[in-house]
C-alpha cells in the first residue's frame, strides 16, 4: 500500500477536490483505493465523494469516520467498532474494475461531529501516556492496510502547521503532494514545510519520503512566466502546473473541477476552457502510472461526464466575447452516481436529472445520463427507459460522442434515438412533448406556443439550411429555410413577434453560439433573407415597436437597414439619412462660403435639425385618420365621422384609400403613421386579418416615404416629389404617387412569398379608388421599366413619357 498525503500550507488551492478526483480516477483505472479525510478541523472529502445518502447521514450526525475510529482506538481496549462499518464504498460506474472506499472525517458539519472532535482532543490529553495521536493515526493506517489491502491510501491532510498535518505528511505518508498557488505567502510557507519534510526523520522501516509539488491556479498566459519558473526552481523536485479556472468558484464538485481542452472542430465557446481537466488528468496519470488503456478510459469518462455536468448547470455562457445568462438545471434537481435496479441487475447513472428536489420521495427521474463503454448503447437506453420511466436517456461514450434517446410513446416504450446532441434543459421538458425532438417543426410549434427561448436555435437552423452558396458548400436546404421564415411569420403575439425580429436582427449575435465565429457574409444573408422579410410580414405593431425602440448609440434605429433594402431592391434608391445629412450639409456649407477652418464640425452639427425629417419614423396611432375629418364633397372641416361608417361607405363605393385613412405618410416630418382603428374596421369589413391590412399599409406608406426621401444612385434628392398632406381640405390622392406605390407594394409582397399578405393586398385593392387599382394594368411591367418611369416622374419629366397614358387611372374609368 502506498500512502499519499495531499498537503497545502494554505487552503483554497483545490486540495480536497484533487484527492477526490485522483481517487476516482485511480479506481476507474482499475486500482483499489481508500480515501481518508484527516482534515479534521475542516473536513469536506465526503462532500466530494459521498452519495446523497452519505450527505444525509452527515447532516443527521450518524456518519462515522476517522474521528470515531481514533476515539475508539484511544478509549476502548479492544476496539468496539470494525473499520468496515465506517468505510463507505463509493459507487463506481458499471463495469469498473477498481474500488474506492471513503473514510470521511465524520458527520461534519453537524453538531455531533464537533462534539466528537472535542472528545477526541480531550481523550488525546487524557490518554497521551498510553500513546498519542501518532500511534492512533498509524494504527488507523495499519487497520486500513489489514482490512482492505488497497493499492493506494490517499490522505487529505490538514492545512497549515498542525500536529496532525505533520504526522500525515512526515510519518504516515510514503509520498506527499504539496499544493500551492503562486501567492507569495503560500509559496513561502510551502518552502518551509518542504524543507522540514526533507529533513524529517523517518521510521527505520520506511523509504525516504517522496515530495511532489503542484502549483495550482496558475494565471493564464505563458505557461512558464518568469515568476512561475522562479517558483519551480525554488521548490525543487518534481513540480507540475495546473492552470487557473474560474469555474471552480461556481461548482467545486468531483468531476467538475476542470474544463477540457477546446474540441478541435467544435467551435463552441462553451468548451473553451483553460485545459485544467487535461492538465490534471495528465498529472494523475503520470504520477500514478498504471495500465495505460485503463487510465485513458477513465480520462475519457471523466471528461465526458464533466462536460455533461458543465452543460447542465452552467448559468452563463460566453459567445463572441459576450456573456449571456442561460436557463440551466438547478443543482438541487441533479444527482451524481445514482444506482437503479435490483440486486440482480443494476446500473449506475453518472448524472440524474429529477423533476423536483433530487432525493425527495416523490421526485422522479426526467433524464438519465450514463457513460457507456463497450456495450450496446441502444440496449442500455432501453434498460434505463424501462427501469426508470425517464423521458430522456443520454448515453455518452466519449467527450464528443453522445446519443440521446427518448421514449417513443408507444406501448412498448421503444427508445427513439434523436439527432439532438446537446442535453435538454428545463424549458425543453416544459415546451417540447419530446425534449429530444428539436426538429424545425417542433421548435416552430414551441415558439408559436409562447417559447421564445427557441428563437436563437431556429435562426441558427435557418442559417444552416440556407448557408449554402457558391463558396460555402454546406448542405443547402431551401425548403427548410422557407419553412422557418413562413413559420416565424405566422407568429401573432406582438411581443413574441418583436422577439422574433430581435433574434433575426443583424445585431443579435447568439447564433454565433451554434455557427462559430462571426461571418459578415452570413450576417448579411440572415439580415436580408430572414430579418427583412419578417419585418414586413410580422404584425406591424411588432415591427414598429422594434424600429421605435431604444436605438444604439451612434447608430441607426433597428430595422433601418431593412428599410434601406426595400429602397434599394424595390425602388432602386439609396436610403441612408446619415449620408444624406453629411452630403447635403457639406453642399450647403460650400455654397454659403462657411469658414471651415474656423469651425469645422460645429457648423455641420447645427444643420442637423434641418435634416431630421430625412429619417423615416414610424407610429401607430389610435387617433382617427385625417379623412375622418373631411370629405371630397365638402370643403369645410366637419365633425369626425364614425370610422366604421366611413370605411363601409368607402368600400361600398370602391373608393377605399390607403393614404389618409388606413395610414399616412407625413412628408414634412418624414413620419409614417398607421391608424389602428381604421385598419381594424377595414379588416373586419373585408374579412381580413388586421395584421395583414396593417402590413400592407405599412409597406405602402413606407414606399411613399422612400420615394420622397430616398436618393438617386447619383446621390440626388427630389424633395418636391412629396405627397399632398392628407389632413388638408379637398385632399385628393395623387394618382401617379398612388399608382406607382401600389405597383411597388405589389411587387414587394410578391417577393415576400406570403399568400395571406398578397390576398389582403388584392382584396383591399379591389375596393379601392382607381388610382389604387391602376397597378393591375401594368402588374407584368418589368420592375426596371417601372423604376425608369418612377425616376422620370420624380424629376418632373414623367408626364411627357409614353407611360403616362398607361398609368392614367382615368383610362380604366373610360
Amino acid at each position: 500500500m502506498e500512502t499519499v498525503a495531499f498537503y497545502s500550507y494554505k487552503g483554497g488551492v483545490g486540495r480536497t477536490l484533487l484527492v477526490a478526483n485522483t481517487a476516482q480516477f485511480l479506481a476507474m483505472s482499475g486500482r483499489r483505493v481508500v480515501a481518508l479525510d484527516l482534515d479534521l478541523e475542516a473536513p469536506g472529502l465526503h462532500q466530494k465523494l459521498g452519495s446523497r445518502d452519505v450527505l444525509d447521514r452527515a447532516e443527521s450526525g450518524t456518519l462515522y469516520g476517522a474521528v470515531d475510529e481514533l476515539l475508539d482506538t484511544l478509549e476502548n481496549e479492544p476496539r468496539k467498532r470494525s473499520l468496515r462499518e465506517t468505510a463507505i464504498e463509493v459507487d463506481l460506474p458499471s463495469g469498473t474494475k477498481g474500488s474506492l472506499l471513503l473514510i470521511p472525517a465524520g458527520s461534519a458539519p453537524s453538531k455531533a461531529y464537533w462534539a466528537a472532535l472535542e472528545r477526541l482532543n480531550n481523550s488525546l490529553r487524557v490518554q497521551r501516556r498510553n500513546g498519542g495521536l501518532l500511534e492512533a493515526v498509524l494504527e488507523l493506517q495499519a487497520h486500513i492496510a489489514d482490512e482492505f489491502a488497497p493499492e493506494f491510501l490517499l490522505v487529505d491532510a490538514r492545512t497549515g502547521i498542525t500536529e496532525l498535518g505533520g504526522l500525515a505528511t512526515s510519518i504516515l505518508a510514503d509520498r506527499v503532494v504539496c499544493l500551492t498557488t503562486t501567492a507569495p505567502e503560500s509559496v513561502k510557507g510551502t518552502q518551509v514545510v518542504a524543507d522540514a519534510l526533507r529533513a524529517a526523520p523517518r521510521l527505520s522501516s520506511q523509504k525516504p519520503l517522496r515530495i511532489d509539488f503542484l502549483i495550482t491556479r496558475v494565471p493564464p498566459g505563458p505557461t512558464r512566466s518568469p515568476n512561475v519558473s522562479r517558483l519551480m526552481e525554488e521548490l525543487g523536485g518534481s513540480v507540475a502546473l495546473l492552470p487557473h479556472d474560474s469555474g471552480i468558484a461556481y461548482e467545486e464538485r468531483a468531476f467538475s473541477m476542470w474544463r477540457p481542452d477546446r474540441s478541435p472542430n467544435s467551435g463552441d465557446d462553451e468548451y473553451a476552457g483553460a485545459g485544467l481537466l487535461s492538465a490534471t488528468l495528465n498529472w494523475i496519470a503520470a504520477s500514478f502510472p498504471g495500465h495505460k488503456e485503463d487510465a485513458e478510459r477513465a480520462q475519457r469518462r471523466m471528461g465526458a461526464v464533466y462536460n455533461a455536468w458543465q452543460y447542465l448547470t452552467r448559468t452563463t455562457e460566453r459567445r463572441r466575447d459576450q456573456v449571456f445568462s442561460r436557463a440551466a438545471w438547478p443543482l438541487e434537481q441533479l444527482a451524481e452516481r445514482v444506482r437503479f435496479g435490483t440486486a440482480e441487475k443494476s446500473r449506475q447513472a453518472d448524472i440524474v436529472v429529477y423533476d423536483s428536489l433530487a432525493g425527495a420521495p416523490t421526485s422522479k427521474p426526467l433524464m438519465i445520463i450514463e457513460y457507456v463503454d463497450n456495450e450496446d448503447r441502444d440496449a442500455v437506453s432501453q434498460w434505463w427507459l424501462d427501469e426508470t420511466g425517464a423521458k430522456v436517456v443520454a448515453v455518452l461514450s466519449s467527450n464528443w460522442d453522445r446519443r440521446l434517446y427518448s421514449s417513443s410513446g408507444t406501448w412498448d416504450l421503444r427508445p427513439h434515438r434523436s439527432d439532438r446532441r446537446d442535453f435538454p434543459l428545463p424549458h425543453d421538458f416544459e415546451a417540447l412533448s419530446d425534449p429530444t425532438d428539436v426538429s424545425v417543426d417542433a421548435l416552430l410549434d414551441a415558439v408559436r406556443r409562447g417559447h421564445p427561448e427557441y428563437l436563437e436555435r431556429i435562426v441558427t437552423e435557418w442559417a444552416r439550411a440556407s448557408a449554402s452558396g457558391l463558396h460555402c458548400g454546406a448542405p443547402w436546404k431551401p425548403d427548410i429555410a422557407k419553412k422557418i421564415v413562413d413559420g416565424l411569420a405566422r407568429v401573432d403575439a406582438v411581443e413574441l413577434a418583436r422577439r422574433v425580429l430581435w433574434a433575426a436582427a443583424a445585431e443579435s449575435r447568439p447564433r454565433g453560439m451554434w455557427l462559430g465565429d462571426g461571418d459578415d457574409w452570413l450576417d448579411e444573408q440572415v439580415h436580408a433573407e430572414l430579418f427583412a422579410p419578417l419585418l414586413w410580414r410580422l404584425p406591424p405593431e411588432a415591427s414598429i415597436k422594434l424600429m421605435t425602440g431604444d436605438r444604439r448609440p451612434y447608430g441607426p434605429p433597428e430595422g433601418a437597414s431593412a428599410i434601406a433594402l426595400l429602397a434599394r431592391d424595390t425602388l432602386g434608391l439609396r436610403y441612408d439619412p446619415d449620408a444624406t445629412f453629411r452630403v447635403e450639409g457639406q453642399r450647403i456649407l460650400e455654397r454659403s462660403g462657411f469658414d471651415r477652418d474656423a469651425d469645422q464640425d460645429r457648423g455641420l452639427y447645427k444643420l442637423a435639425p434641418a435634416f431630421k425629417h430625412t429619417e423615416i419614423t414610424f407610429e401607430i396611432s389610435p387617433d382617427l385618420p385625417p379623412l375622418a375629418y373631411c370629405t371630397v364633397d365638402d370643403a369645410e372641416r366637419r365633425q369626425p365621422s364614425d370610422i366604421g361608417s366611413l370605411v363601409s361607405e368607402r368600400i361600398a363605393a370602391n373608393s377605399l384609400v390607403t393614404t389618409g385613412l388606413l395610414g399616412d405618410y407625413q412628408p414634412r416630418v418624414g413620419r409614417v403613421v398607421l391608424y389602428s382603428s381604421a385598419i381594424a374596421q377595414c379588416a373586419d369589413k373585408l374579412a381580413l386579418r388586421a395584421r395583414h391590412v396593417g402590413s400592407v399599409t405599412l409597406i405602402h406608406e413606407t414606399l411613399h416615404a422612400l420615394a420622397h426621401l430616398g436618393r438617386d444612385l447619383d446621390g440626388r434628392m427630389w424633395p418636391e416629389f412629396a405627397l399632398p398632406a392628407a389632413d388638408t381640405p379637398l385632399f385628393e390622392p395623387s394618382w401617379f404617387h398612388e399608382a406607382l406605390t401600389q405597383y411597388f407594394t405589389y411587387h414587394h409582397i410578391v417577393r415576400l412569398h406570403d399568400p395571406a399578405l398578397l390576398h389582403a393586398f388584392e382584396t383591399m385593392s379591389a375596393k379601392q379608388s382607381p388610382a389604387y387599382r391602376a397597378w393591375r394594368r401594368f402588374r407584368d411591367l418589368s420592375i426596371e421599366d417601372a423604376r425608369s418611369w418612377f425616376m422620370s416622374v420624380r424629376r418632373g419629366t414623367g408626364a411627357a413619357t409614353p407611360w403616362s397614358a398607361l398609368f392614367n387611372p382615368m383610362r380604366e374609368e373610360s
Binding site: 487497520h143 498542525t162 505533520g166 524529517a200 523517518r202 522501516s205
Partner: protein, 147 residues
C-alpha cells in the same frame, strides 16, 4: 537539572510528598483526568530525587528507582523511562528483584500498548515509534509532535 526547592527537601519530606503525589496520580487515573500524566510526572520527579540521595541496595533506594521508572511510563514518557532504567540498571548494587520489577514495568507497558494498538504491534512499528520519537525530539522541527 533538579530545581533548588527540590534539592532542599529532606528524604522524609520527599517520602511524604511522593506518597501524596502517588495518591493524587491514582485518583487522576481513576477519574480519567487530563492531568493524570502531569501527576505521574510529579511522582517521577520525587522518586528520581529520592533515588539520587539513596543507595540502590537500600530498600528505599530500590523502591524509588523502580518507582521513578514506573512513574515515567505512567506519564507516557517512555524515553525518560528508558533513560532512567539504563542509569539504574548500570548500578551493580541494584538488587535482582528491582531489576526484574523494572523489566516487568516495561513489559506491562508494551503489552498494554500492544493491546491498544494491535495492528501497529503486529507490524513491529510500536518500537520503531519510540526510536522515531527519540530522533525527532533531537531534531529541529516545524510541525509540533506530542511527546
Amino acid at each position: 537539572m533538579m530545581e533548588t526547592a527540590l534539592l532542599a527537601l529532606t528524604e522524609d519530606e520527599l517520602n511524604t510528598l511522593v506518597s501524596i503525589a502517588i495518591r493524587r496520580a491514582e485518583v487522576s487515573d481513576d477519574v480519567n483526568s487530563p492531568t493524570a500524566s502531569d501527576a505521574w510526572h510529579e511522582v517521577m520527579v520525587y522518586e528520581e530525587r529520592i533515588a539520587s540521595i539513596t543507595r540502590p541496595e537500600e530498600i528505599t533506594g530500590g523502591i524509588a528507582r523502580v518507582g521513578a521508572v514506573r512513574a515515567a511510563l505512567a506519564a507516557g514518557q517512555r524515553l525518560e523511562a528508558a533513560r532512567l532504567a539504563s542509569l539504574y540498571l548500570a548500578e551493580e548494587a541494584l538488587p535482582l528483584e528491582r531489576r526484574v520489577a523494572m523489566e516487568r514495568a516495561f513489559e506491562r507497558d508494551r503489552e498494554h500498548r500492544a493491546r491498544r494498538f494491535s495492528a501497529l504491534a503486529r507490524t513491529g512499528r510500536l518500537a520503531e515509534l519510540d526510536e522515531w520519537r527519540a530522533t525527532a525530539s533531537r531534531h529541529p522541527r516545524v510541525f509540533p509532535v506530542a511527546a
